[in-house]
């Protein structure tokens, strides 16, 4: 009897051990990629393949056709985790050959030295190379080109045509006064006195599109030449006063805490007439809008001159890449005019190169034209993400707006405090 027990017991344990270790080994093996020898394989990290998979595939295909000795391996991460992933990889020195950067982590990536300096590569290119880019900027921390823009994003507004018609308007507003009037007329109360439809909705991020468009249009200087914040200036105060007035009167109550998704949810459910966003919303609205409603983008209203705010997405080369030349070829291609043309002609993108501004579809397609025209006609183009004070602005901006909306401070006090906080933060760095 005892002998039987021993056999059974040890068998089970032994089996379990073998099973565990073989599974572990199997997973280690089959999850490990064995590198291929001959071709140079570029590892590219991006996030755009999530939103524009076909576009990225088309560009990669064209690139590989032109460069048969290079193979491109794309690893995609979603936008929300991308910052975390990139920064961690940078810290541990496992950056890929090419990496997409954008949003709020563009500056930290460059600042911490995770991106190769692109200037030596640019110097080898023919004259006028960098000028053809509409939005190329030197990083404010490294002082050099650490990344180049491959997708042009332009901020703008969307409207629901039916709601405007109901309120008696046939055209989109052209000035900020008109904008306010339309928003007012489109805010409709139901029989019970509660608002059924809002005139306006937007997100409450520090760098919300509405804020940026207003700051630019009102002529506020974001960062003074000496590096201090210009957000305490009269123009900035006027811009935020306008924003507060619109949001307090014609936008849903909880707007003080809205992230992008809440405002988009509301617009797509047909509960608001205006939405402040950018051209990237085109694809989402095409599939998600409440059935029966027609939506249209329109140009940013004008205060004194036409303006445009851009937010490009960029590509950089990971520091320490083993294939710098090939990596540069890829970055040059994906940010270059040919890839740009693919984006414009096939995927309704907005040109990021001067040379592509003359492609007809750019100014004819009703979803692209408002943004492209804005870009073409603007007398003042701003890209706030490039300023040194942008990081501090993102850190404190939203609190400031909320303080104003919750009535804790007047606009003037709040903005002056914001500028001060930003300056203090910069001094610490």
């Amino acid at each position: 009897m005892k002998k039987e027990n021993i056999l059974k017991g040890s068998n089970i344990v032994l089996l379990m051990l073998i099973f565990t270790f073989s599974l572990v080994f199997a997973s280690v093996l089959c999850f490990n990629d064995f590198a291929q020898a001959e071709k140079v394989t570029l590892t590219v990290w991006d996030t755009s393949s999530n939103e524009r998979p076909e576009a990225v595939k088309a560009i990669v295909k064209a690139f590989e056709a032109q460069n048969p000795d290079i193979q491109v391996k794309i690893e995609t991460t979603d936008w929300n985790s991308f910052a975390q992933k990139s920064l961690l990889a940078g810290e541990a020195n496992v950056l890929p050959d090419c990496i997409e950067v954008g949003g709020d982590w563009m500056q930290p990536m460059a600042k911490r030295g995770y991106l190769e300096d692109l200037q030596p590569f640019i110097d080898k290119e023919p004259d006028g190379f960098i000028d053809d880019y509409l939005m190329a900027t030197k990083d404010s921390w490294t002082g050099t080109y650490s990344y180049l823009p491959w997708i042009a994003n332009v901020m703008g507004f969307y409207m629901v045509e039916e709601y405007l018609k109901e309120a008696g308007f046939t055209e989109a507003p052209k000035t900020w006064e008109e904008f306010e009037e339309v928003a007012k007329k489109c805010t409709i109360k139901g029989a019970d006195g509660k608002v059924e439809r809002w005139g306006f909705v937007s997100s409450q991020k520090s760098s919300a599109e509405f804020v940026r468009m207003l700051l630019n249009s009102f002529g506020a200087v974001f960062e003074n030449p000496d590096g201090t914040s210009g957000l305490g200036s009269p123009e900035a105060i006027a811009a935020i006063e306008y924003k507060t007035r619109i949001e307090k009167n014609y936008a849903p109550e909880g707007i003080a805490v809205f992230e992008a998704k809440e405002s988009r949810d509301i617009f797509m459910a047909g509960k608001a007439a205006f939405l402040a966003e950018g051209n990237w919303m085109n694809s989402m609205l095409e599939v998600g809008m409440m059935p029966g409603l027609t939506w249209k983008p329109f140009l940013t209203p004008v205060k004194d001159v036409p303006t445009a705010v851009v937010g490009p997405e960029e590509y950089g080369i990971g520091k320490g890449t083993k294939h710098p030349e090939e990596a540069w070829k890829f970055v040059k291609f994906i940010t270059g005019p040919e890839a740009d043309a693919i984006l414009v002609k096939q995927f309704k993108g907005i040109p990021s190169h001067r040379v592509n501004m003359s492609i007809p579809i750019v100014h004819l397609d009703p979803l692209v034209a408002p943004f492209a025209d804005q870009l073409a006609n603007a007398k003042r183009i701003e890209f706030y993400g490039g300023y040194k004070t942008y990081g501090a602005f993102v850190k404190y901006g939203r609190d400031t707006y909320q303080k104003i909306l919750y009535g804790k401070m007047t606009v003037e006090e709040a903005m002056k405090e914001l500028a001060k906080k930003i300056d203090e933060e910069m001094a610490k760095q």
């Binding site: 005892k2 599974l23 280690v28 936008w79 020195n93 998704k261 797509m268 989402m284």
Partner: protein, 272 residues
């Protein structure tokens, strides 16, 4: 009579509270049955319930791959945790030596480390060992995270088992290891199941490590997979909720069947 009335009242109270705590589940199901455009058309119940979301997800290769990854990871973590905690728990339970309490306390103390530091700090090690983007690294961290609790549980369970049984076996010529595995372990099945379920659950729900140590899409876990659905632009509530139900179903089923073991395992193991 009075007892029965009081019990019925208690039951009623329990039912109400249970309903409340199940409300989120109800919402999940309700929203998972809605198409994209009609998501907010009505709030509590879907207007036109449809199973489209489930179909979309079950057909999506990537999401199903995530599910499989999580299953594999959780099973492996559970098995290794069981094995190691049995051995360690037995050691702590049956032996006396200097610094024993200190070691035990220190082991529990490691749960006080901020996970974010573990993630960031361990990341470099992983990279140097060329284990980035490898399931193995996740197995390591997850196991290390639930080992303290598992060890404590197994030790507690073993403490309950009188030493006389093994002593009898050892007098008959059994070695320590055999005594452990062939005598004590078979009796401790509920405790083992409890540790197994606990470890499985931990690895199943774990997000921070799964998002840090593993990069490519094919190796995502379910917790990071759902973030894909949350998207950059809008949240596709219908899909997200359907996904939530799908990934929670295995756990719920597992739990329904093993509940008894779990509770009785904790009875002796976790409780003095």
């Amino acid at each position: 009579m009075k007892r029965k009335k009081a019990d019925r009242a208690l039951l009623f109270l329990l039912l109400i509270l249970t309903a409340l705590s199940s409300f989120p589940l109800f919402i999940m199901i309700s929203f998972s049955l809605r198409d994209r455009e009609l998501v907010f058309a009505s709030l509590l119940f879907p207007i036109k319930p449809t199973l489209n979301n489930y179909a979309t997800i079950l057909r999506d290769q990537i999401l199903m791959r995530c599910l499989m990854n999580s299953i594999v990871l959780s099973i492996l973590v559970a098995m290794i945790a069981i094995l190691v905690s049995i051995i360690t728990g037995y050691g702590f339970s049956r032996f006396q030596f200097k610094f024993k309490s200190l070691l035990l306390y220190l082991t529990f103390a490691t749960t006080m480390f901020p996970p974010i530091l573990v993630a960031v700090g361990f990341f470099k090690v992983i990279v140097r060992l060329h284990l980035y983007d490898n399931l193995f690294s996740l197995i390591l961290v997850n196991t290390a995270s639930i080992l303290p609790f598992s060890i404590w549980m197994m030790k507690g369970y073993f403490d309950k088992i009188p030493k006389s049984i093994e002593e009898a076996a050892m007098i008959d010529g059994c070695s320590r290891i055999s005594a452990c595995f062939q005598v004590v372990v078979p009796i401790s099945l509920p405790g083992i199941v409890a540790v197994g379920i606990w470890s499985f659950l931990f690895a199943w729900c774990e997000y921070l490590y799964a998002s840090t140590f593993v990069g490519s899409v094919s190796k995502r876990m379910i917790t990071t997979g759902i973030v894909e659905l949350l998207g950059h632009f809008i949240i596709q509530w219908g899909l997200v909720m359907a996904y939530a139900i799908i990934i929670s179903a295995p756990i719920l089923i597992l739990f329904v069947f093993l509940q008894q073991y779990f509770v009785s395992g904790l009875t002796a193991g976790g409780v003095k």
